[in-house]
């Protein structure tokens, strides 16, 4: 689900960061300054309500918990219903309710705009992070009636549908019914009385899932990395003479992309030796993550209501490939498939042969419906992670507890890692039955305190973020092993390394030696004290040497995001410049240099 709590942000950073300034103005002008004026006042009010709670409140709180995070709960599978997360969803809802619904002076159109990320901009998108628990009610009467009143008869339904597409929760699962939503909503707006009691008085902080980070590695990881040097997807694609974008007849990856604009001096952090090239620039439009094909040729962007792919071999003026999906592009490490989540046809994840992009390359308006014969449904979730089998036998697809990360838009500060004791990740074993890889029964793996799982290209490793109390603890690297158990496949994930680094979802290089992530600046961290708040940078960690390098030095309002490798070691990332409303894809050779013998 995309429902990623604004409130975890609330607990970490000043409230003014979580609430766009324009919204704060709206609230103030509506006489609701108290709502956004101070987090302590909010907490005080909630505390007072909780003190006065009754047995009915306790029963209601338990019902709400079951509805949200119980077995079969609405949020289960994507988010853990920790007290921190529930408070976050509820508090975000309270803010929106006060600003956009309770205020009597707003017109219906103003109320709709109030729900946007930037209320002063009628073209601004909507965000589940901002709406909090209201995202679970996006398809119900309250918002339907609002849109009906706000727009002409010929427009309102399309606009409401667009709103639901952007924020509706859950994405892919079974939604709440309206009566249940109304009941939980009422409880949340009353301050979520008896929440702690209902959950047994346990929070992440004392629930045994928040760990401090101790750097570690294992001989098993070292052996794996040694094997991947010659047998991983980097080696495999090189053995196949896979043509890498921008390399031509170059003998070394370091000689690639020389035709692209050199922006090294513009973005490089002090002391880092790298070459950075700008590959593609466009008006700011994308949301959530960006991914590229293993050969570096295609870059996929989710736009929230549609998606696009840029073929970097085509001129800058060439039309982009339109994709009928919302977001989360993904390209297989084997360079033969791509996927998107939120397919327009049925909101599923659809995986297509990469050759489909070549098939349509000659069209004047190239488009992929994801319904082509070269496409199949692989799941119904978001933030999917997919590997490719090296041995022709099995690979995995995963999705599970995660933090939504729409960098620069509604995420401008470090993401929480409130993965509670009940956090789970789903592993779908994809087994070769000789005709195709078929999905076996999904395995739901309990991973207390861990989420944002990303598989390595071989799917023999995963990396996740783990809770560290008030902040993220760091990353854990785990092996992924399939074991037979009572005629079914079970999954084991023994720990292989712990990397003490703050950041968002991480990705592996194709030789699985490097991790890359983006790091929203947190000036309370000693190594970031001099960096501008409201920016993010790219960080790389070397699992062999333990070395960590911050590659970029972004200015305030500039977000370097979503780094991901291509097969030859070049690292692509996106820069969203919220000041100039431009975004561009860049590539750095830093891992090629770090990995050179």
């Amino acid at each position: 689900m995309r429902l990623s709590p604004m409130a975890s942000v609330v607990s970490l950073v000043p409230f003014v960061v979580a609430v766009p300034p324009a919204l704060a103005l709206v609230m103030a002008s509506s006489g609701l300054g108290c709502v956004g004026s101070s987090i302590s006042q909010e907490d005080d009010r909630a505390a007072a309500l909780e003190q006065g709670a009754t047995a009915d409140d306790l029963a209601l709180a338990k019902q709400a918990l079951a509805q949200l995070g119980g077995e079969g709960g609405t949020c289960r599978g994507c988010h853990t219903a920790t007290p921190e997360n529930i408070r976050a969803w509820g508090k975000a809802m309270q803010v929106v309710d006060a600003a956009c619904f309770a205020t009597t002076t707003l017109s219906p159109k103003q109320r709709v705009d109030c729900l946007r990320i930037t209320p002063s901009d009628s073209a601004s998108d909507f965000s589940p992070r901002k709406l909090g628990f209201y995202a679970a009610g996006a398809s119900f009467a309250q918002t339907r009636d609002l849109f009906k009143a706000a727009f002409p008869a010929a427009q309102w339904n399309a606009r409401w549908t667009d709103f639901q597409n952007q924020v509706g929760m859950p994405q892919g699962g079974t939604p709440m019914d309206e009566a249940a939503f109304t009941k939980v909503k009422g409880w949340m707006l009353r301050g979520m009385p008896q929440l702690d009691q209902a959950i047994g008085g346990r929070s992440t902080a004392d629930g045994g899932t928040a760990d401090s980070c101790v750097e570690s590695t294992t001989p098993e990881l070292a052996a794996h990395l040694t094997a991947m040097r010659t047998q991983g997807w980097a080696a495999r694609l090189n053995d196949q003479s896979t043509p890498m974008f921008g390399c031509g007849a170059a003998a070394s990856p370091l000689a690639c992309l020389t035709a692209q604009t050199d922006i090294t001096a513009q973005v490089t952090a002090a002391g880092v030796v790298q070459t950075v090239r700008k590959l593609h620039e466009q008006p700011l439009a994308s949301h959530y993550w960006v991914r590229s094909s293993a050969d570096g040729r295609y870059v996929g962007f989710g736009l929230n209501t549609a998606s696009i792919i840029k073929d970097l071999t085509k001129p800058a003026t060439a039309p982009l490939i339109k994709v009928a999906a919302k977001y989360d592009p993904f390209f297989l490490p084997s360079n033969d498939g791509f996927a998107f989540a939120g397919a327009a046809s049925d909101n599923t994840i659809r995986l297509c042969r990469q050759s489909l992009l070549g098939d349509i390359a000659g069209q004047t308006a190239p488009a992929v419906s994801l319904l082509e014969p070269k496409c199949s449904v692989v799941g119904r979730a978001v933030y999917q992670s997919i590997g490719s089998a090296l041995d022709g036998a099995r690979y995995f697809v995963t999705f599970g507890d995660h933090e939504n990360d729409d960098g620069g838009h509604d995420v401008k500060a470090p993401l929480p890692a409130n993965f509670g004791a009940g956090a789970r990740t789903t592993f779908i074993p994809m087994v070769n039955d000789g005709a195709a890889y078929r999905a076996e029964t999904p395995v739901q793996q309990s991973m207390p305190g861990e989420g944002d799982v990303v598989l390595s290209p071989s799917t023999k490793l995963l990396v996740d973020r783990f809770s560290g109390g008030a902040k993220q603890g760091g990353y854990r690297v785990r092996a992924v092993r399939a074991v037979a158990a009572n005629g079914a496949t079970a999954v084991e994930t023994p720990l292989r390394a712990q990397v003490c680094l703050k950041g968002a979802k991480a990705t592996f290089s194709f030789d699985e030696r490097f991790l890359a992530t983006h790091q929203y600046v947190d000036r309370s961290e000693s190594d970031q004290a001099a960096l501008p708040q409201g920016s993010s940078n790219i960080v790389v960690a070397d699992l062999v040497t333990g070395k960590k390098v911050r590659l970029t030095k972004m200015n305030a309002g500039q977000y370097a995001l979503y780094p991901h490798f291509r097969a030859d070691g070049w690292l692509y990332f996106l820069v969203r410049d919220m000041n100039t409303r431009v975004e561009y894809v860049a590539a750095t050779d830093v891992a090629v240099r770090l990995g050179a013998p």
Binding site: D239, Q240, P243, T313, P373, S388
Partner: protein, 447 residues
């Protein structure tokens, strides 16, 4: 309704080999969905190093003259087909050996080339062209292609991924039969040297192909394949396999007259009539990984010995001496291995000219379909030649089966006057080599 006709039924009941047959062919398809994630990328250079160059398919140059006879007699056709099977599975010596022992042997088809072999060879050949030749898409000459095959057989040693330890480890893994059978891994499609040579020679046409309309006249009397440099040579052959995990029982299919009639009527072979757990002596098996063994359930064979190809398919059976296995020659058994556990059917033409072998007296379209490969709704009623006529056109199994108006009789009827890929799916839809060739050419020649 499709059902075995009376003559076929009588032939079956009388134990006449020709009758076993009710149905034959390379059909159309697999059960829904595309496959991704390296299904065709399993062969590794070290395996090629151990195998050496692929073994050429020994074509029978007399077959084309015998086509009328083969078309008219199911018995003669089956005799020819068993002979092809024998040549395809015949053990051939490999390049590598452990110590001073004999060179290990593999069935000939397993030495053939996968996509993983073709792409590096293409890269090698194209890079060797001068810039001006690359720009004009100059054709590779035969001597260069011959050298590329030799280079491919030893290219592993030139790769950064190569280590002597990997080679000796792999040599150790192939020390027993199941390990040996894993050379080349479980890639689904393998191609003979002549087949691959023709693809490489044809790259200018492959990457520039504009698919002609179905009624467009062939380029000439001797070339109906406009997206290739002419038709494939007679020793071109290819196989498509289905390896199934040995961790689960193998479904079995009853192909007796009555059971097959019902399956054809339904249009679907279904999930199987029973289950079996054959061991390595009864079914061809490879040890794919330490944890995973795979059984060869089915093998399609196409050879260009006939102009419209000979289409043969074999499948494993728990009752191998009945119906489609009853006329298996003793010489196949003499090859050793479990090949006497496979049944076979064959087609050589769009129309079945041996009336006793028609599946429906009112339907002249030939039929042959493999229960392990032709799965899903309608697929049981297909035929290799019918589906493969669309090779290189962008049509797929799914699109052929989904459009009965454009592709009558479940795609078995001949609807094209030209065959862009000479009946092969290797350039588009299947292996998508056209896409790979094009990407390579663009990468190396773009300004």
């Amino acid at each position: 309704m499709t059902r075995l006709n009376g003559e076929t039924a009588r032939a079956l009941a009388g134990g006449i080999v020709a009758a076993a047959l009710a149905a034959h062919g390379f059909g159309c398809g697999t059960r829904g969905g595309e496959s991704f994630g390296a299904l065709e990328q399993d062969a590794q250079p070290i395996d090629r190093l151990l195998m050496g160059k692929a073994s050429a398919y020994p074509a029978d140059s007399s077959l084309r003259a015998r086509l009328p006879q083969l078309d008219a007699s199911i018995a003669e056709r089956r005799k020819m087909a068993w002979a092809v099977v024998e040549k395809v599975v015949a053990p051939v010596p490999l390049a590598a050996r452990a110590g001073s022992g004999p060179h290990p042997r593999l069935p000939r088809f397993q030495t053939w080339y996968s996509r993983d072999d073709v792409l590096p060879m293409f890269d090698q050949l194209f890079r060797a062209l001068r810039a001006s030749q690359q720009q004009t898409r100059a054709r590779f000459d035969d001597a260069e292609i011959t050298r590329a095959f030799a280079w491919n057989a030893t290219m592993a040693r030139s790769l950064t991924s190569f280590t002597e330890t990997r080679r000796t480890d792999r040599l150790h893994e192939i020390g027993n039969p199941a390990g040996l059978h894993s050379l080349g891994k479980d890639a689904r499609t393998l191609m003979s040297p002549a087949f691959v040579g023709h693809l490489l020679r044809s790259y200018p046409e492959i990457i520039a192909c504009t698919i002609p309309g179905k009624d467009a006249a062939p380029t000439s009397d001797v070339n109906f394949a406009p997206c290739l440099d002419g038709e494939f040579p007679a020793d071109a052959a290819a196989v498509k396999m289905r390896w199934m995990p040995a961790s689960e029982p193998l479904p079995t299919y009853d192909t007796s007259q009555g059971a097959l009639s019902k399956k054809l009527e339904a249009g679907d072979f279904g999930p199987g009539d029973g289950l079996a757990t054959p061991d390595e002596s009864a079914i061809y098996t490879m040890q794919l990984t330490p944890e995973t063994s795979m059984r060869l359930a089915a093998l399609h064979i196409m050879t260009k010995e006939l102009r419209d190809w000979a289409w043969i398919t074999i499948w494993w059976s728990n009752e191998p001496e009945t119906d489609f296995g009853r006329d298996r020659p003793a010489s196949l058994r003499a090859l050793g291995g479990p090949w006497d556990h496979y049944k076979m059917c064959v087609v050589t033409a769009f129309d079945e000219k041996d009336r006793s072998a028609r599946v429906d007296s009112a339907d002249p379209a030939s039929w042959c379909s493999n229960p392990y490969l032709e799965q899903g709704a309608g697929a049981a009623k297909t035929s290799c030649i019918g589906c493969h006529q669309h090779g290189g056109t962008g049509e797929s199994t799914a699109s052929v089966l989904a459009d009965g108006a454009r592709f009558p009789a479940h795609g078995r009827e001949k609807v094209r006057a030209n065959f862009p890929g000479d009946y092969t799916f290797t350039t588009s839809t299947g292996l998508d080599l056209a896409s790979d060739f094009r990407a390579k050419v663009e990468a190396l020649t773009s300004p």
